[in-house]
């Protein structure tokens, strides 16, 4: 069956973004050095257009390309998220690239390609398609992690990410093969009726391997080890992308696989997730306590947040899925904002990344410090921020599934995290500015990102109803 027009509509954002990415790559050699800035503008434009184009699949819900792709509310929600992330990352990157004199064109093309991969992951209805999306996004981000070619750390980051990430995708693919071998199909919605009877060893093994692969991608314990090194070494705007977009897409895929294809899994699976949630929270938070580098601190904090997300996962309910979707949105805003500021303050070569370097920032650059405080307080989960409402939803989902002790452990972790988030705030406000770091003027692109993320955090924190309703709709569309 040949794909019809509507099939293309349902994949419109990805098609547009990929086309723009290719165009940028093609145009790159023909532009003079001082004109390369246009490539960045084109990239931002492409992301904005793709973001707007998410409205198209929302308008034409349904399956596309013989059922490989599905444009349901879930996929629209996640795609909106990843394209918004791409747009903000692109805005935040321009200044960074210029300052470090890094090539512009390839960067924007790669971010676009990575986002295409995430979009495909979010809308895949078939395991091989999931794999393709995973690979598109992973390979682009491997390159991005090593984008500062002459920096040792960046190389290390890319190498590590590539090796471990390849392992993870291999695991995933192996799992897919086993499931296919056992059941004879890779379509998610067709797996469900076939696995209704308790699956055999192959299915269990396959699902286990798939879960390992995905757990790598979302950095859940015990597969989190790569995160701090990769996040630290990658250029900070790339770290912003890594910790938000691909993570959101991987969580989305995991949700879809678990709840669409394997809805009647045994309790043992969720007990594993329960355990992984506890470990992920504790490992992330305890390790973050002793960090002196802001990037590493945020890396460990992102591990901890995966733990919170898994708490709602273990709740195994639609409410839990909705809570996760809401949290992904909130989490993306705060992490993007925080990493943008780290990138902005880092200076050429990222030399200003220790917590101690932020001394007195609150009095030196009040607006930037205010935003960073807001992000950190939101990550901590203080009321009136998106992080708080998100956490309330996660805990609520856990409590409704009678996971009272898991919820208690989650808030104990929140308490632990207060120590390190407040440490950064303390440094910014309770210390005197250092002479070696003069104030850095905020370029308009970075300012725009900060404004959007800060406003978004407050909006979600004070008026969460709309987004939550929408997330709940998306969660319902999974079944």
């Amino acid at each position: 069956m040949l794909p019809g027009t509507e099939d293309y509509y349902r994949l419109a954002p990805e098609i547009l973004a990929a086309a723009f990415g290719v165009l940028i790559l093609l145009a790159e050699p023909f532009l003079a050095r001082e004109r390369k800035g246009w490539l960045a503008r084109a990239g931002v434009f492409a992301a904005a257009v793709s973001l707007a184009a998410v409205a198209v699949p929302a308008r034409y819900p349904g399956k596309a390309f013989s059922g490989l792709i599905v444009a349901d509310e879930f996929s629209v929600y996640v795609r909106l998220l990843v394209y918004a992330v791409a747009l903000l990352v692109m805005l935040a990157s321009y200044d960074y690239l210029q300052r470090d004199t890094l090539p512009i064109g390839e960067y924007y093309a790669l971010v676009l390609f990575a986002t295409v991969g995430m979009g495909v992951m979010a809308s895949a209805n078939e395991l091989i398609t999931v794999f393709i999306g995973l690979e598109i996004s992973s390979i682009s981000t491997y390159v991005l992690a090593g984008y500062r070619r002459d920096a040792l750390r960046s190389n290390e980051s890319a190498m590590k990410y590539f090796l471990l990430g390849s392992f993870a995708t291999a695991f995933f693919l192996y799992g897919v093969a086993m499931v296919y071998g056992a059941v004879g199909t890779t379509f998610l919605d067709m797996l469900r009726p076939k696995i209704a009877a308790p699956g055999g060893l192959l299915v269990t093994l396959g699902l286990g391997l798939m879960f390992v692969g995905l757990a790598f991608k979302i950095a859940a314990v015990p597969f989190q080890v790569w995160t701090p090194d990769v996040y630290e070494g990658a250029p900070t705007p790339v770290t912003a992308l890594l910790s938000t977009g691909p993570k959101a897409a991987a969580v989305a895929v995991t949700l879809r696989i678990f709840f669409t294809a394997f809805p009647d899994l045994g309790d043992a699976w969720f007990q594993l997730i329960y355990l992984s949630a506890i470990l992920t929270m504790f490992v992330g938070n305890l390790a973050a306590l002793v960090q002196s580098n802001v990037k590493r601190l945020l890396a460990y904090s992102s591990i901890a947040h995966v733990g919170y997300i898994l708490v709602a996962f273990a709740a195994r309910s639609e409410l839990g899925i909705a809570a996760i979707l809401f949290y992904l949105f909130a989490y993306a805003l705060m992490k993007l904002g925080a990493f943008t500021i780290v990138a902005h303050l880092g200076g050429a070569g990222e030399r200003r990344v220790a917590i101690a370097d932020y001394a007195g920032l609150g009095w030196q650059q009040p607006a930037v410090a205010f935003c960073l405080s807001l992000y950190l307080l939101s990550l901590l989960g203080l009321p009136l921020t998106a992080g708080f409402v998100g956490k309330v939803y996660l805990l609520d989902a856990a409590l409704r599934s009678d996971l009272v002790w898991l919820a208690v452990l989650a808030v104990i972790n929140t308490f632990i995290s207060a120590y390190y988030y407040l440490r950064v705030i303390r440094m910014m406000y309770f210390s005197e500015p250092l002479a070696e770091w003069p104030p850095v003027p905020v370029p308009i692109t970075v300012g725009a990102v900060l404004l959007v993320t800060a406003a978004g955090i407050l909006y979600l924190g004070i008026f969460p109803s709309h987004v939550m309703d929408w997330a709940a709709q998306a969660a319902l569309s999974l079944r």
Binding site: Y274, R316, L319, D402, A407, L422, S465, D469
Partner: protein, 531 residues
């Protein structure tokens, strides 16, 4: 008189003023101070409107405002005032301008931010006292931490960073558990609305069962006990007080500590009466230990602020004891003592701050014979010490008397031990006073200290008048508390089969309603919390 939005206005006027400060020039210290003070005074004037609008005989919440806020889960913006919270709100609006006046000269660094923090803090505190939705309450409760953290950490003394940290971590340790408790209560009852939960629990329609009730009570109680602070959770308090700037200490002692005891009255007692009754003996013992321990430790403090801080531990012990005696008189006394302590201890911290402004030390040993160079100041100091130790005619006496009289009816031993605290408080306050003010001037630096300035006299005279007034005209206050106190005690009696431990049937299929309104059947498998 149309007072439909009075509570909202009172709650958010300070924040509005804080935003106004943001548009002022950072260097314009004089006008920043004037503007902030004007706003705080206007706030006080507005809050006085609560009194004529308040009907003393009505036991429930008054001037209620209720508007849906978040649809999923259903959270309402729900404010209301009753006899318990009325005067606490007034106390807040009364102490805030005084704290500002006290910081007039002593805050030179980041002036705008300082007053901004004070104003934001005021909103938080008032919100805590007025919120009738558990979620809203928690929002105010937590948000308030931030300005206090900054007040201690930025404008405090030498070990301010440590003290600020300790303050926040202690408070958060309690409040995160309270958050789980609030959410669990929501899961069990389906609402965050305090009156609704109260009615549901009381009617016996949603019996909690013994263990959940104890756990829930514990989670709320620990959060409040840390704030009070109840022995042995008090260790953050001396540090926070000593390191905080004067205004911070005044607000901390005057109002923040009251949020703990207020929370016990508002949540622990009416929501979980059975657990409260079960645990009351233990809590009372802790309170009595706090009374005696606080007093004894206060006695040996070389640092004036630490002395006042430990005296707070002692005084708040009385309040907790009064609450957990479950007696109408003792609870009224407890509420009254909350106000007294706010005014008297606030005043003591203001006095300590004035001394600090002159000598930059809080050590009692550095002073001696201050009555000679500073007669007016010394007179005020003595007067306020007397009020704090409970001299008849002044405010402290009324509260302590009511608490002891009420407790006596419940348990004679409790009252007897607690009464020792009254004697001890006279001992440590007067002894400290004697060392600092009587005799000849022992330290050369003190011989030429200026007496109270006009600004300081205004502050102290205002407090003195209020202290005297509260000592003489206590019925003006207690008559407005009576109905609510009796109502509270009624709430503690369950209508349904008392504490009928109906376990939730975990094997039956359960239905949950998603925020979107869709009901979902959960499978009947016993999915418990243990892996």
């Amino acid at each position: 008189m149309n007072i439909g939005y009075l509570l909202t206005v009172i709650t958010f006027l300070p924040t509005l003023a804080a935003l106004g400060l943001l548009v002022m020039r950072r260097e314009d210290h004089v006008w920043i101070r004037r503007f902030a003070l004007t706003a705080a005074l206007a706030e006080f004037a507005l809050s006085l409107l609560l009194v004529p609008g308040f009907s003393a005989d009505f036991p429930g919440y008054q001037m209620v405002e209720r508007r849906p806020w978040i649809t999923s889960p259903p959270i309402a913006y729900h404010l209301g005032v009753d006899g318990i919270s009325l005067f606490l709100v007034l106390l807040t609006t009364f102490l805030t301008p005084l704290a500002m006046l006290a910081s007039w000269k002593s805050i030179e660094k980041h002036v705008r931010e300082f007053f901004l923090m004070l104003l934001v803090l005021e909103t938080g505190m008032i919100g805590v006292f007025l919120a009738l939705d558990l979620f809203l309450f928690f929002v105010f409760w937590e948000v308030m931490l931030v300005p206090m953290y900054f007040l201690i950490g930025v404008w405090g003394h030498e070990r301010r960073v440590y003290a600020a940290f300790k303050f926040v971590l202690f408070t958060m340790a309690g409040s995160v558990l309270m958050l789980v408790a609030i959410l669990w209560l929501y899961t069990l009852t389906g609402t965050f609305d305090l009156p609704a939960i109260q009615a549901l629990l009381r009617s016996g329609l949603k019996p909690l069962g013994e263990t959940p009730e104890l756990l829930l009570f514990g989670a709320f109680f620990i959060a409040f006990a840390i704030k009070v602070p109840l022995f042995p959770l008090h260790t953050w308090l001396p540090d926070a007080h000593v390191e905080a700037p004067t205004a911070g200490s005044v607000i901390l002692a005057g109002i923040l500590l009251k949020m703990g005891t207020y929370g016990m009255l508002r949540f622990c007692l009416p929501l979980f009466p059975q657990a409260a009754k079960t645990l009351a003996p233990y809590i009372a013992v802790l309170a009595i230990i706090g009374i005696l321990y606080g007093a004894l430790v206060a006695m040996v403090q070389p640092d004036l602020k630490k002395l006042i801080a430990y005296s707070s531990v002692s005084h708040l012990g009385f309040v907790v004891l009064g609450i957990f005696a479950f007696n109408a008189i003792s609870i009224q006394g407890a509420i009254y003592q909350m106000l007294n302590h706010g005014v008297s201890t606030g005043a003591l911290f203001l006095l300590a701050g004035m001394l600090y402004d002159r000598r930059h030390t809080h050590l009692i040993g550095e002073f001696g014979g201050l009555a000679t160079p500073m007669p007016v100041f010394s007179a005020f100091f003595l007067y306020i010490c007397l009020s704090s130790l409970g001299l008849p005619m002044l405010n402290g006496f009324v509260g302590e008397f009511l608490i002891l009289a009420g407790t006596f009816q419940t348990n004679i031993a409790w009252a007897a031990f607690a009464a020792v605290g009254v004697i001890l408080s006279a001992l440590y306050l007067l002894w400290a006073y004697q060392r600092a003010f009587f005799g000849g001037v022992t330290n050369e630096k003190n011989s030429a200290l200026p007496d109270a300035t006009a600004r300081e006299r205004v502050i102290l005279a205002t407090l003195a008048v209020v202290i005297l007034w509260m000592g003489i005209a206590s019925p003006m206050f207690t008559s407005r508390m009576r109905a609510s106190t009796n109502h509270l005690l009624q709430q503690m009696e369950r209508e349904g089969p008392a504490n009928a431990a109906v376990p939730r049937d975990s094997s039956a299929p359960r239905t949950i309603v998603l925020p979107t309104g869709r009901a979902v059947q959960l499978p009947a498998t016993g999915r418990t919390g243990q892996p």
